[in-house]
Amino acid sequence: MTDRTEQLMPQLLPTSLRALIVASSFWFLSLTLTVASGSWAAVLGCVVACYGVDSWIHRSPFERLRISSILGGALVFALLAIALADLFVNTGLFTLLMSPIAVFNSGESIKWFAIGASITVALRSLAHRTSYGAVVEILFVAAAFVITLAAHRNGMIHRPFFIGDYALTRGIDPASILMVFGCGAVLSLAGLLMAENNHRRLPYHFVVLGMLCFSLLFYVRLFGLPTPQLTDDLGLTGQAQEGQNRQRENPFNDGENNTDNEAPVAVVVFRDDYEPLNGSYYFRESAYSQFNGAMLDITRHDGMDQDLIEHFTNSRSDSAQLPPSEEQLTPVRTTIGMLVPHRTPFGLESPIAYENVPNPNNLRFKRTYDAYSLAPEYDFEHLLGRELGREDWSEEVLQEYLTLPDDARYEELARQLIAGLRPEYVDDPFAKAWAIKTYLDENGIYSLKNEHAYEADPAASFLFGDLTGYCMHFAFAAVHMFRSLGIPSRVGIGYAVPAENRGGGSALLIQAVHGHAWPEIYFRDVGWVIVDPAPQQTLVDMTTDPQNNLQQLLGDMLRNDASFDDFLQSQQTSFINLDAVLNTLYALVLAILVAAYLVKGYRLWIPLRSNRDAQYRLSYRAVLDRLAAIGIHRNFGESREQFAARASGTAPSLRELTNSHLACALGTTSASQSDYDWQAARRTIAREIQSSTPGWKRLAGIINPFSWLFSK
């Protein structure tokens, strides 16, 4: 009994380690294919099978079974279990007894336990019985990790979540972690298999390991480590398409989408000091200014909206039309990093130039540029008594800014609203606009859900209906009424971010929820002025988490400050530098391979250069190297003569060579006096090996860098 335990004890550790490795491969593989209960069942089945096979393989009746019977039995077992699981799930009785979820989980568990167990039994039996089985086992484990990596080449490594999340929050590539796991698993498994008993398998293992290392090395050197491209918005799947498509869509359809409103869209870093007077930072991207017969749209008229900069350029692009004066305007430079691609650049109101700047992190930012703006510093009194329209506008352009749907109700309502103005303001355009804005402020109800989207004129439906809508409705309604009173106006589009979001820092995060539209009026000598209705009643909670950390992080990143690196490093301190470790590993593997080949070559070459005294030793060793390369080497404790007799099937001349070698090594024959032709014998044996050994075996012998380790 004690003997038994003594025999079993040293096996327990390698068996457990192997069970752990193979089981984790199963876990990785099954994650994407089944639910959690199935995965755990697969792991359990694998562990049970590992221990079972390792302890029973050398006992009857397992011992007497042929390998084909074992494989067949495993297959039948797996099929039976799958059928059983199917029956279990599909029979109504069990569903009645337990909950459907429990039945489903049990079914998956049965199925995956059987699959895990049978595949493991097959792998372990092959590894025990055949020489190639060990290689199959290694390849299986390697494949499990490679598939996990490969399936997510273009995205996040999302399963297993805890690894992906752990890595991403620390700024580490999850692929690296999985690679390290995979390499570790394959290497330890290979080590275990080598320790396992049969020394004859060692060459196979070294060839496979060598090839794995080589392929890994070449792959990494050629393509780099597989880096998952981060999604556009740091994992918060936002409206990536928004910037590209919204100009073509009906702007009133926005209300139907209910995607994540907090998704970051861009980050703005203020280079100059600026605080808006009206409580919001407005970023203008575009404008709806020309009435196309149905509604306001982006202008196709060359004379209109010349202040807008429509496209990115690789250098600096200036606005074609500057504000008429810089009075009460302050120049502000901001750096904007877009997290979501936009067709048109946007900048703090009113942008006058954009300049491309180097992207500090092209994984995060789609585009980075400096925006030069002339931001308003005036108060409302500055606008009172102003004339309307720009002096150099043609009559045609002015008319375009005054065109509105053919609906008399706009003017009717507008007139009604301005009727109450005090006499001194009765002709003042800004006062009229303010009256309209005030009406909308007081009566409008802000809501993302509305019924106006499919009306012919949603603005009319809103204004003369329930007055319930969102920024688009307010802006369109306001502009229509302005125009009805002869005030040139347009709908500005972009982002409006509450000033308090900036939180005292110099960075400002723009989120999807900040997308906005507002009415603008052109005052002579001032330029486009935003007169934004702010409904006092709202059905939507528009407050968002300001995400100060993200704002600061992205701002630092965009500023390309050292603080961002500091931040990353502070998150990484607990973790070793993977890149350095990997690079060292590659260098080490490469160095070992090169050294092995050098030694191999040296041992084959040196007999040609050495003097006669050493020939008996060096030539004989070179011949042994050649034989070892094709898998023929002396066993432990075997005498040279016995080995020569054993190898004489492959190289008959080895006996004679061995006798001459021993006569020099053990006898009194002096090596320098022996007239034996060592070189000729070496060549003869090389020829004999060539004629008696298949080509692939010789090729493997040439490739294997460690073959000489086995010649002794």
Partner: protein
């Protein structure tokens, strides 16, 4: 009992030349003697080449062998053939004959083996009448059946090459060679040899039944071989003694070989399964045997193969295993593996 076969020196030279063609030295001659002996005995004893080889090695290496086998397995034939093969040349002493056989029984007396002084009435004096030990080759059949007293007389003769009767010492021939046998199964009424006495034998050889074809050949050629015995090539006693000297001088033993022998002994003594290891003397005795084995294979140096061949035969009966351990061969194989590996590796360094 003397064979009347003619010595054929010319023939010998030819046979010897094939063994060590490129060594035209004394060693060639020695190898020739071995070859002749081998061929001669082999023609009379079929299917026992391994035993014949070991017997010749022991003969030249000045040792004795103990055969363990069954009645009728060819022991007598072997001993007789070996004795007759050394029958040529002039007799040194008329009292020495090529071959004698002693059947040991419980009632045997030492004088039955050594000889006894008898009173000669005509000369009025005692004359020593030589016992069966005075021969080149003595077959001591069923040595474990006789009393310890006779056994010790026999073993003294084997160790000292002399017999002492009535305080007079009579030397035995230099070529005195004993082939003792014992039946391993039929142990009723026997006096098993204790280990120290077994140490006197160079080899203990277990003989298995010969293979089927050899057995058929034995039946087929039984008659011819009986008639042939007189016509076979023989060697002289002097030739054998010369060969002994030349092999001792001519076959080299490398330090690596001696290291391997010592390491095997040490490992054997350290092994848990071994109660008592082999003596240093056994190693000393083994050296000439290794030399002869090497010469028999046409080598002028001792190699690992010789150790593989002889170590189990030399060590097997000198080692006492711990209670409960039965497989001597396995113990020897295990202990030899490492030193033999070291020996093989030493040739490349």
């Amino acid at each position: 009992m003397t064979s009347d076969a003619m010595p054929e020196p010319d023939n010998l030279a030819v046979v010897g030349a094939t063994a060590l063609a490129n060594e035209p030295s004394a060693l060639t001659e020695a190898a020739g003697v071995l070859k002749t002996l081998m061929d001669t005995v082999r023609q009379q004893v079929l299917g026992r080449d391994d035993v014949i080889e070991l017997a010749i090695i022991a003969l030249i290496a000045d040792g004795h062998i103990l055969l363990e086998d069954y009645p009728g397995s060819g022991k007598t034939t072997l001993a007789k053939a070996l004795g007759e093969a050394i029958s040529g040349g002039e007799q040194v002493d008329a009292s020495i004959v090529p071959f004698r056989r002693i059947q040991f029984t419980p009632d045997l007396l030492p004088s039955d083996v050594t000889g006894v002084p008898v009173f000669d009435a005509s000369s009025n004096a005692f004359h020593f009448r030589h016992g069966p030990l005075f021969a080149h080759v003595v077959l001591a059949d069923e040595i474990n059946r006789t009393s310890p007293k006779v056994q010790s007389a026999m073993l003294e003769a084997m160790g000292e090459k002399q017999v002492t009767v009535d305080n007079v010492t009579y030397p035995l021939d230099q070529l005195f060679f004993v082939i003792a046998t014992q039946n391993p199964l039929d142990l009723v009424g026997t006096y098993p040899l204790p280990t120290p006495q077994l140490d006197r034998f160079l080899f203990k050889i277990k003989m298995d039944h010969i293979d089927r074809q050899a057995e058929l050949d034995v039946l087929d050629s039984y008659k011819e071989r009986r008639d042939m015995s007189g016509r076979l090539a023989t060697v002289t006693r002097d030739q054998v003694l010369n060969a002994r000297k030349e092999i001792e001088a001519g076959v080299s033993i490398s330090p690596a070989i001696k290291t391997a022998l010592v390491d095997i002994s040490r490992k054997l003594r350290e092994d848990d399964r071994v109660l008592q290891g082999n003596s240093t003397r056994s190693m000393v005795l083994m050296l000439p045997a290794l030399q002869v084995a090497a010469a028999l294979r046409g080598r002028d140096f001792v190699s690992a193969d010789d150790i593989e061949l002889l170590a189990p035969r030399v060590l097997g009966h000198r080692v006492e295993l711990a209670p409960g351990v039965a497989d001597m061969d396995k113990v020897l194989r295990d202990t030899m593996r490492e030193p033999m590996e070291a020996l093989a590796r030493s040739t490349l360094s």
